[in-house]
């Protein structure tokens, strides 16, 4: 069933739809939404098939472009980890795009065609980044996804264009630094293929070019992943972008960057080489830890739901990067599981923010009250589920990534990071329970006796409700069934674990 062409097929679907959508849009504008959903749907179906194939004992598929053998040719490497991440990002994108219909009509009715076409390019970039086995090719896909995300972020509120511009400047610098790092590695190894280079690196160990390259690449990818203190672009971008854009980019974008960091650190270099000259993993771990606390504290200070979620992303991405920096099996499991969990949680929460913006016209936390619960019972239930999962209450999904991360820190006897995981869970609880308390308990009628009438139910449309509900249910399912996912992840370990 699964052909050897699968790795190329999935990005190709996006490429084809990116062209198809403007063409079909010439004929009928409304088609763009359907085509975008169809495209992501197809891609997620193929990713699912590929992942099932991997689970049932499938080998790593290495797709060689033009038939050129690596290291001369470019290849796509569809191994377990890539299959898993591809599945996560495509499925989340599928659900988010289903949800986007009414938001697109309300927020940017005349830009639909462009919007959906660019989302396809964005997903092309992300899929390419995950799949490629070539460092320069990775840069190209990185830029494709980045350019698309600048465009998507610019579609939004008044301030969106300026925050997109800032992101563009910072993001391009990040990309360039990454490229510079690749250049240094190329000078010492003469190859760009990740697998090939991994075999050569031990021979050039101690060369100052390697350590320079490593630092440059970590900074470059760190900017994309919003690793503290390189996160400055993120909060504004996510806040002022259209609800659909932020729901698409927030759960996926930084995750893919974190995945690239994981590839570079653990698959390309490997824990021993990274730490040969400088304790890079420890530095990254400490930065991630500070980022976790910083993001959580800033999230508490926000009164705008989307901005709060954006800062929460800074903190959550810290978990993933912390897991990578632990460079042990539990840390790896925690990081990869958190890629899934956080994608689901953050997408679900951003969809809730989108629903509120559409219905109420704002998402200002201070104005939340218990009429929301009456008007949107299911939206609020989904929010509560995702929030509890973010806090890390068992048996929801969020608990288990924290559990494995905690085990990872204990394995390394890294009590500092263990304390950070615990403290940050508490901070998460503060900013989420603050909202939960408002939507279930704050009763304006009590303070102001005049409005005592019953508030009718006014739930969002099914196309917005179901994607969100599926994610909330998935959080429960992933939590309870996480052992199956984890046992799959244990087959994805990089060499040396």
């Amino acid at each position: 069933m699964i052909g050897p062409d699968l790795p190329a097929l999935i990005p190709f679907i996006y490429l084809a739809f990116a062209v198809l959508i403007p063409l079909a849009g010439l004929w009928k504008r409304e088609l763009s939404y359907g085509l975008a959903v169809l495209g992501t749907g197809l891609a997620s179906a193929f990713s699912l098939a590929g992942f099932i194939n991997y689970l049932s004992g499938g080998e790593t598929i290495r797709y060689l472009f033009g038939g050129w053998q690596p290291p001369i040719g470019i290849e796509f490497v569809y191994d377990g980890l890539a299959a898993f991440v591809i599945l996560v990002i495509n499925t989340v994108a599928f659900l988010v795009l289903i949800h986007s219909r009414h938001i697109a009509t309300a927020e940017f009715p005349h830009k639909k065609i462009a919007y959906y076409s660019v989302t396809m390019l964005l997903m092309l970039g992300f899929n390419g980044m995950v799949l490629t086995g070539d460092l320069f090719n990775l840069y190209v896909f990185l830029e494709i996804s980045s350019l698309s995300s600048y465009a998507l972020i610019a579609i939004g509120e008044k301030r969106a264009a300026y925050s997109a511009f800032r992101y563009l400047i910072i993001g391009t610098v990040g990309g360039s630094l990454y490229l510079l790092g690749v250049g240094f590695l190329y000078t010492v190894t003469g190859t760009l293929n990740i697998i090939d280079m991994h075999e050569m690196l031990p021979q050039v160990l101690g060369n100052s070019a390697v350590i320079t390259a490593l630092v440059l690449m970590v900074i470059g990818i760190g900017i994309k992943a919003a690793l503290f203190p390189l996160h400055g672009w993120l909060p504004d971008s996510y806040t002022f972008a259209s609800s659909s854009s932020s729901a698409l980019i927030a759960p996926i974008g930084t995750k893919v960057a974190a995945y690239v960091l994981l590839r570079v650190l653990l698959f390309l270099f490997g824990a021993e080489i990274i730490n040969a000259d400088l304790p890079i993993t420890e530095i990254i771990g400490v930065l991630a830890g500070i980022g976790i606390l910083f993001g959580s504290v800033m999230a508490i200070a926000q009164s705008e739901l989307k901005k709060m979620l954006a800062y929460s992303s800074v903190s959550q991405i810290g978990y993933i990067i912390m897991g990578i920096s632990l460079a042990n099996p539990f840390g790896f499991i925690g990081a990869v599981l958190h890629i899934l969990n956080h994608a689901l949680m953050k997408a679900c929460l951003f969809l809730v923010a989108g629903n509120l913006r559409l219905k109420e016209g704002h998402s200002n936390i201070l104005e939340f009250d218990d009429s929301y619960r009456k008007k949107y019972p299911w939206t609020m239930a989904a929010f509560t589920t995702a929030a509890l999962s973010m806090v890390g209450l068992p048996p929801l999904a969020g608990f288990f990534s924290k559990w494995y991360l905690a085990l990872g820190t204990i394995d390394n006897s890294n009590w500092f990071l263990l304390a950070i995981i615990l403290i940050s869970s508490l901070l998460n609880a503060v900013y989420f329970f603050r909202i939960i308390e408002k939507i279930y308990l704050k009763n304006p009628a009590k303070e102001n006796e005049s409005t005592g009438t019953d508030i009718p139910r006014d739930e969002v449309k099914p196309s917005m409700l179901y994607p969100m509900a599926i994610m909330a249910l998935a959080l429960i399912a992933v939590g309870i069934l996480n052992v199956y996912i984890v046992s799959a992840i244990t087959t994805m370990f990089p060499a040396g674990f």
């Binding site: 209450l393 068992p394 309870i480 046992s487």
Partner: protein
């Protein structure tokens, strides 16, 4: 070991009642019928596990692995049945009492109340039957969340701030517990409860053992109300009285002490405890808590808050008994879980009945109420005498064994603490009884009568139970036999 699905059903039955309760929100009678039905079924299911537990059999049910090598496991040992029996049995009383209280008081959002209550009970039974620490943690956190809506039930400012305080304490505790579990798992590779402890073969350093124990204590100590982690409990008295009665005198706080005994007897084990002096830490904390809480109880004019401080003190009796590390002490400690439950629930029921009937919640305004509410005050007297340790009420039995346990371990201080605390108990309960019986009440009392039978019958019931179990501790449920066999299993593990 045998496999049975009864424990699972026992856990799930009240959870299964939740949809029915929610769906019949518009028909109060039907809704409350579901609650009572779930309570009775749950109690019978737990009861059916009793004969096996008395023979020392362990019923296990491994559901599925929730993390590699860490299954979601229910394992019903004697201790589990003991605790589950108390919680589910008293839930039936509380269900009836709730009907009287909530209707008598005209509370809003009763559907949410009954639904949360049912989830709480599921979690409590889950805690009782947890076969390993991870399963325990899951139910423990579930209990935290399910109790929250009950604490903030009346949605006043006071209740909301009590809710915040409650969450702050319990969620922090949950995190410490996660850390403790992680460390335990990485040291021992298992999280199963085992009579006599799981650290048997592991070399521990003193620092490690003390740190780990403090993490555990921080984790479960909040619900057990040990000082200085107790202060959420008096604030949580903002909840409706049935909640205070069942959850804050029985289910939630007893989960805390249940967990402490689990940690002492089934995770660390008496040997490790003694080797590293962990029992001394625990004993000092418990002793201080007992005395200080009893003294603080004097200060409270609000009846429920006084009862809450009394609860804090009595929970530490149980902790103290566990810390003695003697079989008799542990027996007394386990017995006190049962005896304090029946007595304190009686007292809370009384406080609620007085509140609903007379709208009085301050002790200073209780003058002469024994004339209008003779049954309630009779029950209250039984309960408070029992807590002070007067025979033949069951509080005496557990105190007797606690004291014997201390002497068995050649310890005098715990005995002194118990005696002093007994006097303090009399000291803070006597004024209430004195006012009720001997002071003359105001004129307005004459227009009131006894509270609704929905409340009076349950509170009399629990009071009578206290007396019966005081005279015949082994009647019906063999509580005493169970306590002895749990204690001997901890000290003489197979």
């Amino acid at each position: 070991m045998e496999i049975s699905y009864i424990p699972l059903f026992a856990v799930l039955v009240s959870l299964a009642a939740v949809p029915f309760i929610l769906l019949s929100g518009k028909k109060p009678n039907l809704r409350e019928f579901w609650t009572v039905l779930a309570g009775v079924v749950k109690f019978l299911l737990v009861l059916s596990l009793l004969p096996g537990a008395l023979e020392g059999k362990v019923v296990e049910l491994t559901l599925f692995e929730i993390a590699p090598n860490l299954p979601l496991k229910l394992s019903v040992d004697t201790f589990g049945v003991f605790f589950a029996l108390i919680a589910s049995g008293l839930w039936i009383f509380t269900s009836f009492y709730s009907i009287g209280y909530m209707r008598g008081h005209g509370e809003k959002k009763q559907t949410r109340y009954y639904a949360s209550f049912a989830i709480c009970l599921s979690s409590t039974i889950g805690i009782a039957f947890s076969g390993n620490l991870l399963t325990f943690l899951i139910f423990y956190e579930m209990l935290t969340i399910a109790t929250y809506p009950l604490v903030i039930h009346n949605e006043s400012k006071e209740a909301i701030s009590a809710g915040r305080k409650y969450l702050a304490y319990t969620l922090t505790a949950g995190l410490l517990l996660i850390a403790a579990l992680g460390v335990t798992y990485s040291i021992t590779g298992t999280l199963d409860f085992k009579a006599g402890g799981i650290f048997g073969d592991v070399e521990l350093t003193k620092t490690m053992a003390v740190t780990l124990f403090m993490l555990f204590l921080g984790g479960v100590g909040v619900k057990a109300g040990i000082m200085p982690l107790h202060s959420w409990l008096p604030s949580a008295m903002a909840a409706p009285t049935p909640v205070s009665a069942l959850l804050h005198a029985v289910a939630v706080v007893k989960s805390g002490v249940f967990a402490i005994i689990r940690v002492v007897g089934f995770v660390f084990g008496p040997d490790v405890m003694a080797n590293f002096g962990l029992n001394e830490i625990l004993m000092v904390i418990a002793g201080i808590t007992i005395i200080v809480a009893s003294l603080l109880a004097f200060n409270q004019d609000n009846l429920k808050r006084r009862l809450a401080y009394s609860t804090v003190g009595h929970l530490s009796y149980i902790v103290l008994g566990a810390a003695m590390l003697t079989p008799l002490g542990l027996t007394g400690s386990i017995m006190h879980i049962a005896t304090h439950a029946t007595m304190k629930i009686t007292l809370f029921f009384c406080a609620g009945a007085i509140y609903v009937n007379l709208h009085k919640q301050n002790i200073s305004s209780l003058n002469g109420i024994a004339k209008v509410m003779p049954w309630t005050m009779a029950a209250f007297t039984i309960g408070s005498l029992g807590l002070a340790g007067v025979p033949p009420i069951n509080g005496f039995v557990s105190k007797w064994y606690l004291a014997s346990g201390a002497l068995q371990g050649d310890m005098i201080v715990p005995v002194l603490i118990l005696i002093i605390s007994g006097f303090l108990n009399i000291g803070y309960f006597f004024p209430i009884i004195h006012r009720a019986y001997f002071k003359k009440g105001g004129e307005e009392l004459s227009k009131y009568g006894e509270a609704s039978p929905f409340m009076v019958v349950p509170l009399m019931g629990t009071a009578v139970l206290s007396v019966i179990f005081g005279m015949f501790p082994d009647l019906f449920f063999h509580f005493f036999d169970m306590a002895t066999s749990i204690a001997s299993s901890v000290f003489n593990p197979q």
